[in-house]
Symmetry: C2
Subunit: 309 residues, 2 copies
């Protein structure tokens, strides 16, 4: 058997990177860490509501990106895990609040009832607040073997990524743009670089900060993240049109229904797909100086344009 | 004139501490710092919404307590100001979210329309989220001359004080207790030590952490804060019954209307007032070892039981 393998892989050439195995291993680490991050205590209802959404599945791409860039920059999974969990807590908070009746008014998320449909609006608002506050507490109190100034940098970046200068600001412009299917490309870009891009960038950059990466490397990783973030959104917009509700695990055709401007509505589906590919290529080009160590990040970038849900 | 003053103040005895002058000076510092902490930029609506509630007045007792304990423990106002501002951002976030229709459904706060009445529910939810995230970013990025490990301790304490183990948890039990005017004293204590007490305690303790206070001093200050926190709440409950809407700047008699259990409903007004006084005395006793340096904290404790709004 070994001899046969050798025939297929020329001497010195490594076998192709197995992204699926990598992601499922990392997802396992993250699920276990998230599960133990938040034990249920009195008052149980709020902890259950927080856990309901935090442990509702999902690809865990954000924490996995954080772990990956920490390793890329010479750190360990252990150093980055509290920050990785915090990133998922923040992402979850944003989903819970986005789904509220006063916002996007969604009944389903990842194929399950949304938080407020199960626990009520009041608890859903508080569960989001609780997750956001806990994310910062978790980084500050649970990180091991990371110098304190790096943790402060991470907290500062994360706060900015989720606040009015990031996710919250993007959501505000998104709300303002509803019912205006003819908004400018500039506005659409602002929405997505803030609503989804800022947190993705924080995931990628914070992992590397934890490992003590230099400014030049942080900038490369930041551009990688911006490119895959936008590509991810374009593919999301395309899937909203082409995929079924079952595949998405959420209401399909929602954007069209809400009269939201999307990249396909701006450029058409074919041109959108082509631009997403260009962005992924640009993202991968940024990683060239890291060589083989960047394999997981390169595979994740490729994964974005080939995913179907 | 000098001679007359000397007659009244025996040699070596300082004039009585002027709390009113102290509070108004500190309030000025805090207002200026809050005002410059949050400049308006695109998308302007969210920054205006955040500023609307952050700069809506109030006594600024929380930040003032933080500055006071930092000075008590040998630090400076400058060291504590970013944390003091963050505490007011967090307090403001909790008020904005508490006032939402899905929660307490209040139209007025400090005599002004509540955030969601002016900006809509969606923006009010996001303004709260933005303030909460910004609070942590602000401490991590704006604090000068404080060792990084102390800032991490402060962030960890604050996260805990506002999350499910603190303010959010207290609010959940408060919501569960609505329409149940016969709840136990234990539950009422849980609500208040978490809903208002946890953040007050964080204010007092974090100021001292920033200055590098020892564990024993932190514990004294923590007990001081717990005592004045509970006294503050008892007085609040009494004022809700005895003061007019004009004096309170918010709807009076709200607790009775909502069939909420309060300390006066449990103990009667007279007994409640007497217990508040005992708590203030216990709070002041904790400060004895600090001598004259504790004057502002002692005066603030006394102020709580004598305030009328």
């Amino acid at each position: 058997m070994v001899a046969t393998d050798d025939l297929h892989a020329p001497k010195g050439e490594a076998p192709a990177f197995d992204l699926s195995a990598y992601l499922s291993e990392r997802q396992g680490f993250v699920e276990a860490a998230l599960d133990s991050s938040l034990p249920v205590t009195y008052p149980t209802q709020i902890y259950e509501a927080m856990r309901y959404s935090l442990l509702a599945g999902g690809k865990r791409l954000r924490p996995i990106l954080c772990l990956a860039t920490c390793e890329l920059a010479g750190g360990t999974v252990e150093m980055a895990m509290p920050t990785a969990c915090a990133l998922e807590m923040i992402h979850t908070m944003s989903l819970i609040h986005d789904d509220l009746p006063a916002m996007d008014n969604d009944d389903y998320r990842r194929g399950k009832l949304t938080n407020h449909k199960v626990y009520g609006e009041d608890i859903a608002i508080l569960a989001g607040d609780g997750l956001l506050a806990y994310a910062f507490e978790f980084i500050a109190s649970q990180s091991d073997n990371v110098p304190a100034p790096r943790l402060l940098q991470v907290i500062s970046r994360l706060g900015k990524a989720v606040g009015a200068a990031g996710l919250v600001g993007g959501q505000v412009v998104d709300l303002e743009s509803e019912g205006k299917p003819d908004i400018q490309e500039e506005t659409l870009n602002f929405i997505h670089t803030h609503k989804t891009g800022a947190l993705l960038e924080a995931c990628v950059v914070c992992g590397a900060i934890l490992a003590g990466a230099e400014s030049e490397d942080l900038q490369r990783l930041s551009r990688y993240a911006q490119n895959i973030g936008l590509a991810f959104q374009i593919v999301d917009d395309i899937l909203d049109i082409t995929a079924t509700q079952e595949e998405l695990g959420k209401t399909a055709g929602k954007d069209l229904q809400a009269q939201k401007a999307t990249y396909p509505s701006l450029w058409g589906i074919e041109e959108s797909a082509s631009r997403a590919k260009q962005l992924v290529k640009a993202a991968k080009d940024e990683l060239a100086p890291f060589g083989k160590k960047a394999e997981p990040l390169i595979a994740i970038a490729d994964f974005i344009t080939t995913r179907t849900h």
